[in-house]
């Protein structure tokens, strides 16, 4: 699923650039996100998403795949896993900055998001809407934080992370807001303990490792924005996979019987 957002902040390009390439400034802009570790261009963290009866905690990691200062373009990839094992989210977010005529900065945020697992079952098309709203909030927070402190210290993170777990794909472009941070998927292990508070039992779960789609993920934090989106595809594949597994088992049994 591809989402596009844009923002304009009255801060100089250089300042915004510095903010965008700093996970510690970007992450707080994502609703529900918290960083647990930052190492160079990689980060790990969690994103908590609440929507009505649904409450998901994604843990994962992300990294800056590209920081092209000349082009003022940053590409962030993040992937995360629902701490209770319900699914994964991944996003790749590309932020491109440019100066505006009045000395401000314009940012284009393009996000590619893939979500798998049960959240999709609940979705009925809501996932993209919810993801879009999260991105809207992220872009708004980012712009706000840049506005507030225009110095380098601001919290803006423009980079959205993207997560790409690669799982399923996506959906048609929805329009909504782009800035995404990525959802991360990632290692649950580190954070599972933390989650347990929310979920109770989740802590004891084994850690799952998410497979980043596309790239290597560093250990990063996950920011999940869009947890919900996209899982429907995955869900549809489940019966197919199950059917294939059953066929395989039947085949093996038949073969075993024949040997006798």
């Amino acid at each position: 699923m591809r989402l596009d957002h844009e923002f304009t902040v009255p801060a100089p390009l250089e300042e915004v650039w510095q903010a965008v390439i700093d996970p510690e400034r970007v992450a707080p802009c994502m609703p529900g996100a918290a960083l647990t570790k930052v190492e160079g261009d990689s980060f790990t963290g969690t994103v908590k998403v609440k929507l009505g009866p649904i409450s998901l905690l994604y843990k994962g990691s992300g990294e800056f795949l590209e920081k092209d200062e000349a082009a003022r373009k940053v590409v962030i990839k993040a992937a995360g896993k629902d701490s209770r094992g319900g699914g994964t989210a991944a996003a790749t977010v590309t932020v491109t900055l440019s100066s505006t005529a009045d000395g401000g900065t314009h940012g284009d945020v393009a996000s590619d998001i893939a979500i798998t697992g049960r959240p999709a079952q609940f979705g009925r098309g809501l996932i993209s809407e919810v993801g879009g709203k999260l991105l809207d909030t992220f872009a708004g927070n980012l712009a706000e934080s840049l506005r507030t402190d225009s110095g380098a210290g601001a919290a803006p993170g423009s980079a959205a992370a993207s997560a790409g777990s690669g799982s399923v794909s996506t959906a048609p472009a929805t329009a909504a807001a782009p800035a995404t941070e990525a959802a991360a998927k990632g290692d649950l292990a580190e954070q599972s303990a933390a989650d347990s508070a929310e979920a109770g039992s989740s802590a004891s779960k084994p850690q799952l490792r998410s497979v980043p789609s596309g790239g290597s993920t560093g250990e990063t934090e996950a920011i999940d924005l869009l947890d919900y989106a996209g899982q429907s595809v995955a869900k549809r594949l489940i019966p197919v996979a199950a059917g294939a597994a059953v066929l395989f088992v039947v085949f093996m049994i038949i073969r075993a019987l024949r040997r006798r």
Binding site: L51, G52, P53, I54, S55, L56, R84, G85, G86, R118, P119, Q121, F122, R124, G125, L126, S128, E129, V130, K133, P172, T174, E198, A199, G200, S201, S202, S232
Partner: protein, 284 residues
């Protein structure tokens, strides 16, 4: 699948329930009929620390009259709403919509207030509540407050209810003698509404005196089809008027697209279904 562990309390009064919610913190959930919450728990899409079960709170059940209002307790089941003579007399639209909710098993367990508080955009009861200008009574640590339906539904699954509040009752102004119809379109039986239209009208001598029309699943919340209502009021109740009014049903709506329907299709459905709903309601 098995839900994550949670604490469980079953208070016997609204006050106790409010206290239990406050004590349990923001990750507590209220359990009404459980027809939406339990599947979510079983899929582990949520893992509340505490469930506050309202099934023992007798004061939350039942339908009564209070002056010009019909008051429906939040824990009244859909089955009871369907069969209540007061609802049939004063809120025909709610009865019509409730008749279409899910299947008999769900209607016996599911509750009116639970469905409203859940605020699924495809849920069938929010549109009638909005159309009839209901007021929702909410209990919380600070006492009770009343919220208009137009302010109650805020977004997907999001209402004016705070985590430490619960819906007590819904007050519907009596629409005595109004005719009503709920027209629902689903891809397969028992599915959630792709689009549905709640319409109720009061006619006198062949003239539409008042009209209320609300749409289900044409946005993140139920929406009033104001343009349709305006086109109907004062006009004579005939097919041409209905057709012209229904053409405005999708005005200003921005429904979400999904695998079954894109925006244009949903807007088309809204117009067609509004025509059908009004035709049935007016009896033209």
């Amino acid at each position: 699948m098995i839900p994550a562990p949670f604490e469980y309390v079953a208070p016997s009064s609204v006050d106790e329930a409010v206290q239990a919610l406050a004590a349990a913190g923001e990750d507590a959930k209220v359990l009404a009929g459980g027809q939406s919450l339990l599947p979510v728990l079983r899929m582990r899409l949520a893992a509340p620390t505490t469930l506050v079960d309202l099934r023992k709170v007798a004061e939350l059940r039942g339908v009564r009259e209070d002056g010009g209002d019909l008051v429906i307790g939040a824990m009244t089941t859909h089955y009871d709403v369907q069969r209540d003579p007061l609802v049939a007399e004063h809120a025909a639209l709610l009865k019509a919509a409730t008749d279409t909710v899910a299947d008999p098993q769900v209607r016996h367990r599911g509750t009116f207030g639970g469905a409203i508080a859940h605020a699924d955009p495809a849920g069938d009861l929010a549109a009638p509540v909005l159309a009839m200008d209901a007021s929702l009574v909410i209990a919380g640590p600070g006492g009770r407050r009343t919220v208009a339906a137009a302010d109650f539904f805020q977004d997907f699954f999001t209402t004016a209810l705070a985590p430490d509040e619960l819906l007590v009752e819904v007050r519907l102004p009596k629409h005595t003698g109004w005719r009503a119809h709920y027209e629902k379109f689903t891809r397969v039986a028992q599915a959630w509404s792709m689009v549905a239209v709640a319409a109720t009208v009061r006619t006198e001598g062949g003239v539409i005196e008042e009209a209320r029309v609300a749409l289900t699943n044409m946005g993140s919340t139920p929406v009033r089809a104001v343009a349709v209502e305006q086109a109907l009021v004062g006009a004579s109740a005939n097919a041409d008027v209905i057709r012209a009014a229904a053409a405005h049903a999708a005005d200003g709506t921005s429904p979400a697209a999904d695998g079954n329907s894109d925006v244009e299709y949903r807007q088309h459905l809204a117009r067609v279904l509004t025509g059908r709903a009004l035709t049935a309601a007016v009896g033209a």
